[in-house]
């Protein structure tokens, strides 16, 4: 078939059906001079060879290999979800910020937890001292979660939670709160990050060793596919791999290699690939190099589709790479922080032109502290300006066919595939991480970049060029130091009110499940409902699993 014939087929069958289900935002998209903008532009050629190449490399949006996007109409029907990552202090304060963001037109929640919650320490644990409520909200028991979602209907607002080691417990808490709101687990929409492998490489909130952690993940995948079918049970994250200093190719390669490891583990645990793979989602960073970043997103989508099809013989829904994007925190400067607004705007364009499903835009002051409310508002407005004023959302994959972008897309895919082959040779991602291979590769890139910045070879405006004298910034966000005491006091109250026998019984069941091959989710849910603390549940698992010890790679 020629491209023209393929296009006619796509318009008549795929596009039309999609528009019926998801109507476009406007009856007609048009230029400033009144001409209609088509949903899609594609090569105007009769050549069979050009047609074959086009179908092989790009295809049509919503179709294999998904280079041009995961839905047929993309943003013409529905804009990406604007999802600002937020949360700090106590559950009550975080609840107030969430409501503010929803009032400002944000369309989904993205919850940051403090480090003790992420690692599995209660707020009254000595390791938690000074950390409670700092980088996210502190959650010790179901009581905190009830407070966090007070007045936020869980069947209407989708929630994304950056949680890995303790993902099972936090997910159980959401399920329990939803039940109290009268929302069934089947209606819940949201995401848990649940991507432990990148914690060992880049992010550092691991607690258990890799193997039992992988088991916990397959338990969650199995449980969600049955009980919480609309939930994204894992968000395979390249963001932190990039933030740790890797380049765009490494970001794609190591993220997809992590994804492969999860798919293999789940299949090994007896799950059918198409029962869980459609719920896998991804998470990438958006950097300043606009064309390279757009190519990166397109290459990642194509490579994942190929891997799922060729290696696992997976169906079309499993081939689709849906992803969240966050603008890259590491590109922000503490110097002349208002310049960061411009960086974030470019990165927003990169994410949108790359076809992201949701986006967090960083605030200008994040190299200094937690973002202030007005900075968060500007970051959200940046997305809204790109969405409603720039016009880039009006036609699908507008940069396709650009010689530069297509070349870069091919190049990034090719180089990432070579890395994945290398990791296969090492025995897979778990082995490649345990041997330190991945960490060393990232570190090499990170060191080179930092050296290039210090030598001035790589220009960072305001940092190593165009500097100026500045006053220290004012109005930076401060946290109330009393949060820790408040949190500790509330644990004490919950412990005094709960049924201790029920707590003991459910915790013993968690330990028994950890020691067997039984799925851990049901006993964790029971323990959460009995108001066992996060730390108590983690301790039961730790007793069986042990703790991870970092291999120092320098």
């Amino acid at each position: 078939m020629s491209i023209q014939e393929e296009a006619a087929r796509w318009y008549n069958q795929v596009y039309r059906k999609s528009v019926e289900k998801f109507p476009e935002r406007k009856p007609r998209f048009s230029t400033s001079f009144g001409e209609e903008i088509a949903p899609l532009y594609y090569p105007q050629t009769e050549s069979e060879e050009a047609s074959r190449l086009y179908m092989e490399k790009l295809g049509f949006p919503g179709e294999y290999p998904y280079t041009r996007g995961v839905q047929p109409t993309m943003y013409r029907s529905r804009l990406w979800t604007m999802r600002q990552y937020a949360g700090f202090g106590t559950a009550a304060e975080a609840n107030r910020r969430f409501k503010y963001l929803l009032e400002q037109g944000q369309t989904g929640l993205s919850i940051a937890f403090d480090l003790p919650t992420q690692i599995g320490y209660d707020s009254d644990h000595p390791m938690s001292d000074g950390e409670v409520g700092r980088v996210g909200v502190a959650i010790d028991t179901l009581r905190d979660m009830e407070c966090l979602f007070e007045g936020i209907p869980l069947d209407k607002v989708s929630t994304s939670m950056t949680i890995n080691t303790t993902a099972s417990i936090l997910l159980a808490m959401v399920i329990a709160v939803a039940e109290k709101q009268g929302v069934s687990p089947a209606a819940l929409e949201g995401t848990i990050q649940n991507d432990i492998l990148k914690e060992y490489i880049a992010r550092g909130t691991y607690r258990f060793p890799p193997k039992p952690s992988m088991r916990l993940i397959t338990d969650i995948l199995a449980y969600c596919s049955k009980e919480v079918p609309k939930w994204n049970s894992i968000s395979i994250s390249g963001y932190h791999i990039r933030e740790a200093g890797s380049n765009a190719v490494q970001e794609v390669a190591f993220t997809l290699a992590d994804g492969l490891a999860y798919v293999e583990a789940a299949i090994k645990a007896g799950l059918a690939v198409d029962s869980f793979a459609p719920r896998l989602s991804f998470f990438f960073a958006a950097h300043n190099n606009l064309l390279e970043e757009v190519a990166k997103f397109r290459a990642a989508r194509r490579l994942w589709a190929k891997i799922m099809k060729d290696r696992f013989n997976a169906g079309s829904k499993s081939q689709v790479m849906r992803f969240h994007t966050q603008t890259a925190g590491s590109t922000l400067t503490a110097q002349q922080p208002d310049n960061n607004i411009v960086r974030v705007a470019i990165q927003t364009l990169a994410a949108v032109l790359g076809g992201t499903q949701s986006l967090h835009t960083n605030s200008r002051d994040e190299a200094l502290s937690l973002p202030a409310e007005d900075s968060v508002r500007i970051a959200l407005r940046t997305q809204q300006i790109v969405a409603y004023e720039s016009g880039v959302a009006d036609t699908v994959d507008p940069l396709a066919g650009s010689y530069a972008v297509e070349h870069l897309t091919d190049l990034i895919e090719e180089k990432a595939a070579a890395y994945i082959d290398q990791i296969d040779e090492l025995g897979g991602m778990v082995e490649a991480i345990e041997s330190g291979y991945v960490q060393r590769e990232i570190q090499k890139s990170s060191y080179q970049v930092q050296k290039a910045i210090e030598s001035g070879e790589m220009v960072v405006v305001g940092l190593n060029k165009f500097q100026m004298e500045e006053e220290p910034p004012e109005n930076i966000m401060r946290l109330d130091p009393a949060i820790q005491e408040a949190q500790i006091a509330s644990i004490r109250i919950v412990k005094a009110e709960r049924d201790e026998r029920e707590v003991k019984r459910t915790l013993a069941a968690v330990r028994a499940a950890a020691a067997s091959t039984e799925n851990l989710m049901p006993p964790i849910l029971a323990a959460v409902k009995a108001y066992a603390t996060l730390g108590e549940i983690v301790d039961e698992m730790k007793a069986v699993f042990g703790e991870h010890k970092e291999t120092i790679i320098l």
């Binding site: 480090l115 003790p116 992420q118 690692i119 320490y121 000595p126 390791m127 938690s128 001292d129 000074g130 950390e131 700092r134 980088v135 914690e199 880049a202 992010r203 550092g204 909130t205 933030e243 740790a244 200093g245 590491s330 400067t333 503490a334 110097q335 190299a367 200094l368 502290s369 937690l370 570190q443 990170s446 060191y447 930092q450 210090e454 940092l463 220290p472 910034p473 930076i476 946290l479 970092e550 120092i552 320098l554």
Partner: protein, 131 residues
Amino acid sequence: MEEKIRVLIAKPGLDGHDRGAKFIAQALRDAGMEVIYTGLRQTPASIVATAIQEDVDAIGLSILSGAHNTLLPRVAQLLKEKGAEDILLFGGGVIPAEDIPYLKEHGIKEVFTPGASSSEIIEFIRTHVRR
């Protein structure tokens, strides 16, 4: 020949942002110093114990979790208790300017914030290490 300066680069607190710590560790090593890196999630007590055991001249504390006001002075306090306050103590990370005077009053000799270069830090260590 003069003995090499020995530096401990440590990550107190729970955050996993080790890009800066690892960069500085490597840059100090390239500058001819002997560097020990602790890895993540070190308590003040374990940092001080390692520093004394390894007989270091300086300790660099990297922290991005916001817990600096709690944890950094505690390291200084413990060094003092162990009679090791001659070890040069400096810090780095996302630390607001208004917290720096407090940290300096509590035994942290210098605080390097985002944008500081490795040459500044190397220069600082060479100038201040007591040999």
